[in-house]
Symmetry: C2
Subunit: 411 residues, 2 copies
């Protein structure tokens, strides 16, 4: 069995965290100077591990194995959310790097290979999942032309040019090369941490259905317009969100989540009745039947509000992704590996967050492994996982990849 | 009886509306070039009407009567809300101007005088009611030092300097000079328009009690944080506003109004559970007992939310004005004048909006007269009143001022 080197693993993770260090986390937005430097650093580590490493035209860092036998693709991302944690992304790519090294050092693994990728911009500074989408053929040149940094509006083309990546070819998947795809990640929730478990075996990456709710009322003076005469768009929105709050628990699955992330009242002044209101609303579930039930209820509640209220509500569907099911045999491989290293400490769970694996899963069998997040904290610089859990997770991951590679021929 | 000149009245209103004309309304923010020009134009009209006119150190335009007998102060404002109506403010000052001219032309009114004022910044571009507060002694030099334009942050001192008003003395009230204060205004609601009435006799200017509601929750990932574990500040706010929506109608008076003008969720991203939420909330009534009842209920609902929910809610009192009661004898004078010119077409009503009269009422008996707003539209460029109603309102106003002046000696 390939055996990982805990010190080397932790040293690399800590060194990577120096690129854009911020408090105990990192601030390393896609194609910032720190991010570009981190990509070069990671490509060098892949080369040192014996892989044929390159950075492609969209900023993906990929190391190709020179092994002759069946290969597994392992990936995650290297950039961070703004002022966020040190492990969200880096954990997965350094697990890939360490797995490659462990394979190389294990004579019993001769012939088995892993390719390791750090996908570009999973965190969405310029778009969404740009690197993994590019790799699986779901990102056009026009998509890249249009993409701009959501914070400072820099065109992606310009940022790629400045980074030195413009004009390079974009790597694309050769599915026949792989048995499948593995990705490790911190859980970002507290299920493992609060139950003392160590390994999450991801069953599916949930779908996210996103909506813009728009209410049209009548802007008017907050002092001179009687309550009876008002068409208060803000109040109509509050009533709808309150109805959702009452109804959704009756229709949701056990792991459904729904969130109103933004509310805007227009014009937003203390003494003016809002003439227009908007909300960004989303729900997530791994089960399409549940998603469809919640979708129907949202539209029913909006219709009810239009019938009974004095404002006009409408709903715009912004996106409806599809749940990405993880490969059953791979899940069993992770469970078997966990049983060898930490018996009774693994559980199956869906991923409530999106990951590059959801795009790779469209082209090959895919799997994800979670390690505990202390306190469930995510997208914040205090995000963390104990060294012990990081090391254990990597050994389980490496072991599972080895078994999965041996069990299945390339597609 | 002093008789107004309808053509002259309408001509002046139309000419004033050319300063900052916008569609059928005006855009004339306080101390904009158009506003400054309009103040000079108005001062000239006051001089032509035989008044001793000046623009003071805060931008108030005041014309003092040279009459020897009892005098009435008449005022309103000249600047507009952004891209708003042509009558909100101008109607009242041009009524004052026309009343002064009608008095001068009526031998029977010899010895009776009116002073006419266009108070600075009633619309609150730099503060709130700065001109009338200055006149009654409720605005300090430090208040002026601190005041800045709420849209572009220009210091008021700098804007006054640029307008040429800096360094001039500020006019202050000599209460012994006046019998009282009269102000005319468009209704800004649809009570008169929808019932076919022509004159609103204002009983009181309602008090406005304003609050900032703050909710502290826990910012977290909208995909990985279970519903049970969330502390969603936005949802807690929606639940509170929904409880207010259910409870306030049971406690409110017949003319109470309450409004949530702004809601902010922080950070306001589609996939992040809001960690903090804020709302600007206000209610208005002319009855202090009602105001206190609503205030107590707001705090009770917040306490209930803190007991039953998982977020921490607090309420900051931003302002609590006092209702300004209008003088009973003046109300009767307006009713009597209306009975002469449009019998059966006047009604008593409170003002839901704030007006300069609420500050003048602190130093002398005060009255307000409303004319109909077509469709109740206010603070919008489509705001309007028919020429016929404008003319009728002015004659009733002028007549009421004359009778009130004769009936009462100066304070």
């Amino acid at each position: 069995m390939p055996t990982i080197n805990p010190d080397r693993l932790l040293r690399d993770l800590r060194e990577l965290a120096t690129f854009g260090a911020y408090k105990t986390g990192v601030h390393r937005p896609s194609l910032s100077a720190e991010d570009v430097a981190a990509r070069h650093w990671f490509a060098e580590r892949l080369s040192e591990a014996g892989l044929d490493a390159r950075i492609d035209g969209i900023g993906n860092v990929i190391g190709y194995s020179r092994a002759q036998g069946p290969k597994m693709l392992i990936g995650s991302h290297i950039e961070s959310q703004n002022y966020a944690g040190w492990l969200d992304g880096p954990l997965g790519i350094v697990y890939g790097l360490e797995t490659a090294r462990a394979f190389r050092e294990d004579p019993a693994a001769a012939g088995l290979g892993v390719d390791v990728a750090a996908w570009f911009d999973e965190e969405g500074h310029f778009g969404s999942f740009l690197g993994s989408r590019s790799f699986v053929g779901l990102l056009s040149e026009e998509d890249i032309d249009r993409a701009r940094n959501r914070y400072d509006n820099t065109p992606l083309r310009e940022a790629l040019e400045r980074a030195g990546f413009a004009g390079r070819p974009r790597e694309t998947v050769r599915p026949e090369r792989y048995c499948g795809y593995f990705e490790a990640h911190i859980e970002q929730g507290d299920t493992l941490d609060s139950t003392g478990l160590k390994i999450g075996v991801v069953t599916a990456i949930v779908a996210i259905w996103q909506y813009r709710i728009i209410v049209e009322g009548e802007q008017n003076h907050a002092g001179t317009t009687s309550m009876a005469r008002r068409r208060d768009a803000g109040l109509a929105l509050v009533r709808l969100l309150s109805a959702i709050d009452r109804r959704f628990p009756e229709l949701a699955g056990p792991r459904s989540v729904w969130t109103t992330g933004r509310i805007t009242l227009d014009p937003g002044a203390p003494s003016i009745i809002p003439g227009r209101a908007e909300a960004l609303f989303q729900f997530r579930d791994a089960d399409t039947a549940v998603l469809e039930r919640l979708h129907a209820e949202l539209f029913r509640l909006v219709e009810e509000a239009n019938t009974t209220g004095r404002c006009t509500l409408s709903v715009e569907v912004m996106s409806q992704s599809i749940p990405a099911l993880m490969d059953e045999a791979f899940q069993q491989a992770i469970e078997a590996a966990a049983a060898r290293h930490c018996p009774g400490r693994a559980m199956r769970m869906p991923s409530g967050a999106g990951h590059d694996a959801q795009y790779l899963a469209r082209r090959m069998p895919a799997a994800m492994l979670f390690v505990p997040s202390i306190g469930g904290i995510s997208h914040h610089w205090t995000e963390n996982t104990s060294d012990e859990d990081i090391v254990l997770g990597c050994q389980v991951f490496c072991d599972a990849v080895a078994h999965a590679l041996r069990a299945r021929p390339p597609a």
